[in-house]
């Protein structure tokens, strides 16, 4: 199957001026006459290329520049320098044709009219995006079924629960069937069950309509469940671009060994194997070098006193932590 790039950025930069103010009355007074500010580079020379129909995770710690990048890609803010091309458009020109082909979901108060039921917001979007009545009905039925929001449509948005609101937000954002979908923390604040439902919906939606999706999330479950490719940025710089598996291999230097003994073998010291995470009676959890994992497990079994032993991959949050640290 032939693919083409939907999103291309070259040497993309965005700098913000940040006002500084010291504590106290005199400092406030001084700040009026001699304001202090400095420039913070939120995004620094970002090169990125995303193929049509890809579902890409955009990861990084707080303040890494993820949301700023999404805002530049959607046309909300101008880049300081560099170039962006999304579907062949320069987003910051805000061509209406471009805006009709994208959607940005950022928080739960993005699209819904607070004082009106979601069905009214959907009707407004139908007109703004010039969707025919028959098409509107068909898409609405589809989204209502996939998102299970039939009971929420005629309730004032402010009276909906967080999960209901988020699903209605998604329905509004997807009504015009965008070719590009920017999702900024789509599951934030939701309970575990609701997170799972939103994830399942996104996977299903992507499978059916193949939009290009760029997703940011702090929940690694989102990333693991949804994406194959990840782009990791830190302090505005891209530090990784590849598959999730390769990322794990590249950064995951240690494994987590959990062992429970019938009785602790004489002379056993967890520190001889690696870093002790915790100890509860005869149960130990130790972080050990990846290459020594098999040998360590074998040695422990050979004592004949092991009741249970597991070897796990380190959580992906730690993997990213190590990546940022390096």
């Amino acid at each position: 199957m032939e693919t083409s790039s939907s999103i291309v950025t070259r040497n993309l930069c965005r700098t913000f001026e940040v006002r500084r103010k010291s504590e106290g009355f005199l400092a406030s007074l001084k700040g009026i006459f001699w304001p202090r500010s400095n420039f913070v580079r939120a995004v620094s020379g970002l090169d990125m290329e995303i193929q049509t129909g890809e579902l890409v995770g955009f990861l990084g710690p707080n303040g890494a520049g993820k949301t700023t990048t999404l805002k530049m890609l959607s046309g909300l803010i101008f880049p300081t320098s560099g170039s962006i091309s999304v579907l062949g458009f320069q987003p910051f020109q805000r061509d209406y044709e471009y805006l009709g082909r994208i959607s940005l979901v950022m928080g739960q108060k993005q699209n819904l009219w607070w004082d009106l039921p979601p069905i009214e917001t959907l009707a407004i979007h139908r007109e703004i995006y010039n969707i025919s009545q028959a098409e509107f009905r068909a898409r609405l039925d589809e989204l209502v079924e996939m998102l299970e929001i039939v009971d929420c449509l005629d309730i004032q948005a402010r009276k909906l629960s967080l999960g209901q609101r988020m699903r209605c937000e998604l329905a509004v954002a997807l009504l015009h069937r965008p070719q590009i979908l920017f999702l900024d923390e789509p599951t934030i604040g939701l309970d575990i069950l609701m997170q799972k439902r939103v994830r399942a919906f996104l996977l299903n939606y992507h499978e059916r309509f193949r939009p290009t999706i760029l997703l940011t999330s702090h929940y690694m479950e989102d990333v693991i469940a949804l994406v194959q490719r990840v782009i990791v940025i830190n302090r505005g710089l891209k530090i990784y671009d590849g598959t999730l598996n390769e990322l794990s291999k590249a950064a995951r230097l240690e494994k987590i060994l959990t062992v429970t003994f019938q009785s602790i073998p004489e002379g056993f010291s967890p520190l001889a194997f690696g870093k002790l995470i915790f100890q509860e009676g005869p149960r130990f959890q130790v972080k050990i070098p990846r290459e020594k994992a098999a040998e360590t497990a074998s040695n422990l079994y050979s004592t004949g006193k092991v009741l249970d032993l597991t070897l796990e991959e380190a959580p992906i949050e730690e993997v990213l932590g190590e990546l940022f640290a390096s």
Partner: protein, 278 residues
């Protein structure tokens, strides 16, 4: 098409978009009907207080306004104020601060249209409340009111004077609101440049014709008079044809200047917009 400055959406569906937005804002207005009615009552109170003040102060003086003129002037004022009232200077900076502007900016429709339809819906509702009140008071005070002729020419002039006043006031306030890209609380600027000066030079505190001649030069040149006093002067019927023509010319000039300034601020503002907030 550049920088989101296209004012009308492509194609012929703008009418349908307008109707849908008007319907939505009408429902929003009804959701806050109590607040809207209180604002309407407030817009009657101030002119009425001023009417009684001037009736007491000017009795027997050489003012060009007699009792009946004051009553007519301050009875017409709430209705004119209802038309020209504009709150983009409060709502637009708030949208910028709270991040709601983001959602407007991402739609293939100029964000200003939302404000336009919000104003139309709220004013239509306020008018429904105001008209019966003002007409009831007019009926009670009918003996004091001067005779007014309602010729087709006057009604047409009044219509266009009101229309221009509404548009000019909206463009003035919205241009000031655009400074919200740089200043967090534009409301304070509005207090200085719009409310206090407008109240005096627009003819709210006292009818323009009762001001000293030196003030008249200023009021004739600045836009304030034309957004409040001018339509009432036409209603009163004591304004010459020459003054009416000059009035419309001045309004068009200010409209042009403020539109240019607003457009420049909008373009520059979008360039520095940081889109903070959700």
């Amino acid at each position: 098409m550049k920088n989101g400055l296209t004012f009308f959406p492509k194609g012929v569906h703008f009418f349908r978009v307008s109707m849908q937005l008007l319907k939505a804002y009408w429902q929003e207005t009804l959701a806050y009907r109590g607040m809207v009615i209180i604002w309407g009552i407030h817009s009657i109170m101030v002119p009425f207080v001023l009417m009684f003040v001037w009736l007491a102060v000017e009795r027997g003086s050489n003012s060009p306004y007699q009792d009946g003129d004051y009553i007519l002037y301050y009875l017409a004022m709430p209705l004119v104020m209802n038309f020209i009232d504009c709150w983009t200077v409060f709502t637009f900076p708030e949208e910028l601060r709270e991040g709601y502007f983001n959602r407007q900016l991402l739609k293939p429709l100029h964000p200003i249209w939302g404000h336009v339809f919000e104003h139309i819906a709220a004013k239509a509702f306020q008018l429904l409340c105001l008209v019966p009140i003002v007409f009831s008071i007019s009926w009670f005070m009918g003996d004091y009111l001067p005779d007014i002729d309602f010729s087709f020419r006057k009604i047409a002039l009044l219509f266009f004077a009101l229309l221009f006043a509404v548009v000019l006031r909206f463009v003035m306030n919205t241009t000031l609101a655009m400074t919200g890209f740089w200043i967090e609380h534009v409301e304070t600027l509005n207090l200085v440049f719009n409310q206090a000066i407008w109240a005096l030079l627009g003819g709210m505190v006292t009818p323009i014709e009762t001001l000293p001649p030196i003030f008249r030069i200023v009021t004739d040149v600045l836009p304030y008079r034309y957004t409040l006093s001018f339509p009432i002067e036409i209603l009163r019927g004591k304004i010459s044809n020459g003054e009416i023509i000059i009035g419309f010319v001045v309004m068009v000039c200010w409209l042009f200047l403020f539109s240019l300034a607003g457009r420049a601020l909008w373009r520059a503002g979008l360039r520095i917009y940081t889109a903070y907030g959700g």
